[in-house]
Each structure stands twice: as C-alpha cells, then as structure tokens.
Symmetry: C2
Amino acid sequence: MNFRFVGSGDSAQVPRFGCDCPACARARVLSSHRRGPCCAEVRLDGRRYLLDAGRMDLAESCEAERPAAILLTHYHADHVQGLFHLRWGTGESIPVHGPKDAQGCADLYRNAGILDFRPGLKPFRALELGGLTVTPVPLNHSKPTLGFCLDDGDARLAYLTDTLGLPGETERFLRDWAPDVVVLDATHPSTHPAPSNHNDLSLALQILERLGAPQAYLTHIGHELDAELMAGGLALPAGVEVAHDGLTL
Amino acid sequence: MNFRFVGSGDSAQVPRFGCDCPACARARVLSSHRRGPCCAEVRLDGRRYLLDAGRMDLAESCEAERPAAILLTHYHADHVQGLFHLRWGTGESIPVHGPKDAQGCADLYRNAGILDFRPGLKPFRALELGGLTVTPVPLNHSKPTLGFCLDDGDARLAYLTDTLGLPGETERFLRDWAPDVVVLDATHPSTHPAPSNHNDLSLALQILERLGAPQAYLTHIGHELDAELMAGGLALPAGVEVAHDGLTL
C-alpha cells in the first residue's frame, strides 16, 4: 500500500488563526510548513481510500480521484467537515465507515446525499476493502473514536489519532499485531500542563517505546509542538519522525 | 456601505461534485464561473462585517482583515462551516450574531473558542453595529433563519437568503422599509418540480415585483439555474441581475 499524510495538524491547524508564534509565522510564509486538518489516504490496487475527511478541498480532491471508501476515526468537525460539501454531489454513492456514534456531526446522517454511511464499525472486527484489511481499534477521546490497523498482506500500519494514551485492550491487540509502522497522535509538547483528549509528546514516545514498532510517525501536531521543534533540542528516538502534509510512505 | 458577494452558490456549490452539466463543466475551467457557499461582506467606516461564514478559507480571509462581527442567517453547515476552524484561533473574541436556535451546528456553542455567540437576534429588533443598523427579519426555511436589512443612513439593502417565499410579516415590513437593493434567494430554475426551503426563479421574480425595489440581485444559485442561464432565453426584468462571486456594489 501507498500511504500519504494529507493533513498533519490539530483542529486549530498551523498557522493558527491570529497566532504570531515562530511556527505560525513560518507557516504563513512557507507553505511547506503548513499543517491542515489531520487526515491521510491509502492507495492499493488502483483504489484510493480516505482516512478522515476534514480537508477543506475534499470535493475538489475527490473529483480528481474518486475514493473507493472513506474511513472516519470520529465525528469531530475537523475530521468530517469536508463531507458537508461533498455529500451534495452526484453519481455513485461513496461508502463511509466510522465508529458507532448516534449523533454523528450536525445533520450528516439525516441529509447524507451521496454518502452511504455504513453501520458503525465494531472494534477488533476486521473490514475487508479490496485487498486491504482494516481492523478498527478503540481510542481514548471525547467522542467515540477508532484507530485503524491497515494490512495489505505485505505491511502493517496502525493509524492512531485522536487519542490520549491507549485503552489497554487496544495496546494488547497492537503488541500482538506487531505493526511495521505506527502513526500516533502527538498534539502537544511535553510541557503541556494537562493534556486531555490528545497525547503530548512524552506520552506518545512512551506508547511508541512499549509498542516497539520499527518505524513511527507523529501526527495531529499543534503549533506549540512545532515551535518547540523549531527551537531545536528535541531529540527523537531512532525510527520516530514527525509527519508533515504530503509525506508519502 | 460597500457590499460584496463573496459566495453566490447553493450548498452543492458550482461546480457540483461529480456533475457534468454545462454549468459545472464551465466552472471547472473558468474559475470566474465558480460559486462558493452563499455569503457576503459589508465594509463601513473601516470595519468589515461578515454575512455568514461558510467559505472554506474563512480563517485565512480573517487573518488578512479581522471582522468586527459575524452575522449568521442560520446554522446550516454551508453557512457556518468556516467557523469550525476559525474558532480555535487566538486574540480578541469575534462577536457572532444569529437567530435564536437552541442547537446551532454541531458543537459550535459548546466549544466556541474565540467566537462570542451573542443571544439570538429578535426579529424586527434593530442591532447597531458602528454606523450600520441591522434589522433581522424572519424567513421561511427548514431551520430558524433570518434575513438582514442593512441601513447605513444613506442606502438600504435587504439580504434575504435562504428562504422559500417570504413570511407575511417580513414582506409587509419590507414594503414599508423600501430598500434600495434587495438580494434574494433564487436557488432553482422555474422548471423545478417542487421547490422546498428555497425559491425557484419565478417565485423570486414574483417577490421582487411585489417589493418593487429599484435594484435586485439573485443569489444562492444552483447549477441547474446556471445551466439555464447559459442556454440563454431567460429574460430578467429591468433592475434584476444574477450575482456572482466577487461582485461588489
């Protein structure tokens, strides 16, 4: 499979509106340092699968290449807001798989348009999408949220955002499953006084050490962590990198 | 006052995702024919006021010029979706005035960030914003929705979208108020079998004739009306024009 980070930012994105910190100031000048809403895409056997749908140009991107399915980690706006426009399109419906969440986001369920919302995914019950096996795993967030364990028969990638720590059953599953690559939420710097709903850097690194995957990428990055990275002095362990928008594995 | 149509499209926008009609095909090639989510802005005495917040680049636009206030006609996603990003900014709060609507859209009220949601506007009770007097008037839509009658002491403009027809009390108010300019919802062509929540062209023209304003602009235009306009043969009455994105009065 080909995996691409489309957006690697938190809900405020980078630059954050109105913020003059060094990371936000840099992102305004150098577009390569911007971070859009956290999302990714997987290509396999000529098909394109989207992980989350918060990018603001979602419909335009889907015109260029219609997705075979959309996987939603959860129904917070920064992960689904592109659907508000896409749904009113025409043509074949697009399957949307996400966690069981009675509310969803605003009126998406009620006015689904061309979106075909499938029944909520059951944790640890694998979904087959073409040659891709997707196993949803529960995460710790303020809304029902799933991580996705992607297996194309050749490589295993675990996509784990948004989360604060990991539920015990998810961590046990992942240690057995032995992913080649882990993508993990690291929204805040380690100096964050009280992270909630999202990992800070030190918590993310502890989780990665316990999982022991050979390669890991941090995503859902907030501007404060970017500013710390800019200032230097953050030594990441071998095999751990910070993702950026457009990074392809 | 300086009034600018920022977006003049319906919720599907033009081009509509996946549509190959002549209007959508043209808009893909000629960006001047694209129609974004319906919204506008007013400039007066060096201040900028936004009418609706559905444009996808709202935060970027507000960085270039911070708005003094945002007026929301209603809480459908295509009129508020830009707020999901803007709210997580920093600096002074931005006042947001809209109709009384207990639900709003998704978690906007609960997680308002820098948005200062003011109490719901009362119909026909004027709001003073600097030198601009704004009188909200009820409209006919599937969610509580207001039109805005804008008066800078020099000119009167009524902004009336989204609506199917007009409530009697609103039409009576407008006839007394005698606007110089009326901006009106004309989403569908006259051939639409059963318009709901939005005017079709013939209904819009009937309303404009009754109101008798010297100048009128049609907005919230769907791709089907655009295709009819392209095909020609739609003679609009004198003083009635179809708005386009970027049109400034």
